[in-house]
Symmetry: C2
Subunit: 219 residues, 2 copies
């Protein structure tokens, strides 16, 4: 019974996500659904990424949080269009929520739209919003058992950024184990080892992202 209800909600969401996707395609807008646990560093990565690609890409942002608008305020300081969604309790964004922000943007003036999802390693991976790719962040402070324990997000993502590698000397976390277990779940996963604090690894991520957007908008 419960399963039926959940399935109906997921199917309704798929239809809306498809509509969103049509609209993005019309505007040749590349869309990323950015996901992680709370505190893995989504907003900081996004700030760095905006700086890192702004010469080449016009970026817009949708910020998803249960409540508060502090993330949108941080992004607004970067001078890019941003809309905050407050889910009011819901633990993930869905197609409909992001659809309600569309009138706030002029998609023809953007190349890349990043949807920063609610901090949650589980549910966001189940609800497509119409994105071209899902990208996830894992902080080394979370430990190296996360691929085994939360496999869906690793399976659904095109890229994994292992963040806060500057903390590696102080935490029990094996990058090798994260790599191995992630690639067993998703052999095509592109993995970046980064520190938003020191900047290590970020250039490689910027370069790859710019390539993806270019290919996606041509395709």
């Amino acid at each position: 019974m419960k399963i039926t209800v959940v399935r109906a909600i997921l199917e309704a969401n798929e239809r809306i996500a498809d509509l969103n996707r049509q609209l993005f395609d019309q505007s040749k807008l590349y869309v990323i659904n950015l996901m992680s646990s709370p505190g893995a560093g989504k907003t900081t990565l996004l700030e760095k990424t905006i700086d890192g690609v702004k010469k080449d890409l016009r970026v817009g942002v949708i910020e998803g949080d249960i409540q508060s608008s502090q993330d949108a305020e941080r992004i607004a300081r970067k001078g890019v269009p941003v809309v905050q969604i407050n889910t009011g309790g819901a633990c993930h964004l869905d197609g409909n929520m992001i659809r309600e922000t569309f009138h706030e943007f002029n998609f023809d003036e953007l190349d890349l739209l990043v949807v920063e999802n609610v901090g949650n390693l589980v549910c966001p991976a189940e609800f497509r919003v119409g994105e071209d790719m899902k990208v996830m962040i894992l902080s080394v402070a979370e430990g190296d058992d996360k691929p085994q324990k939360y496999p869906l997000m690793f399976r659904e993502s095109k890229a994994l950024l292992i963040n806060k590698i500057d903390l590696l000397p102080y935490v029990d976390c094996s990058l090798e184990k994260i790599r191995e277990d992630s690639l067993r779940i998703n052999p095509d996963l592109r993995i970046f080892e980064v520190s938003c604090k020191t900047g290590e690894g970020l250039e490689e991520w910027f370069g790859w992202l710019k390539e993806r957007v270019k290919e996606g908008r041509l395709g």
Copy 2:
């Protein structure tokens, strides 16, 4: 419509949680619902806590994970009864899931049952399992904006353990801000600053926990 469905599920869960609670009370069993983001340190805290209270309390554990049984295996090595629940995708435990483990325990031989919830800072706080109190962990690596962004869990918890304080020199996180924002949301919240790695602060937590269990079982 969606809201109605969700409310019906929550109400059904409340009824089951009440039934669980009656059973716990009959056995004079004190029950904790332990919650946090992925990787904040629930299982490690639990290992330390079992060692720290075992002279005074007989502990049992229910491990909740989406999949895998590695946490239950870690706890089993401590020589206490443990049952693993795999939610198969669901991002939280509910009253019914933990009810299905009851035949695996002899509650009359236990003083304290700890239910380690799925790693998620959102949904577990909405689903009571019949516990005497909710306890949450926040790792300093997650940052100090979490009370503002995920207030429900801070509001519902009796105790907050701020964990991994050994990492404070290496992360941008103000304990003072966490304290202030948490207490604004929940003035009765008992806050412990701990490091499961160095052991700092744990004795205070063990002592407080033992007091709560003693009072709970007398009451």
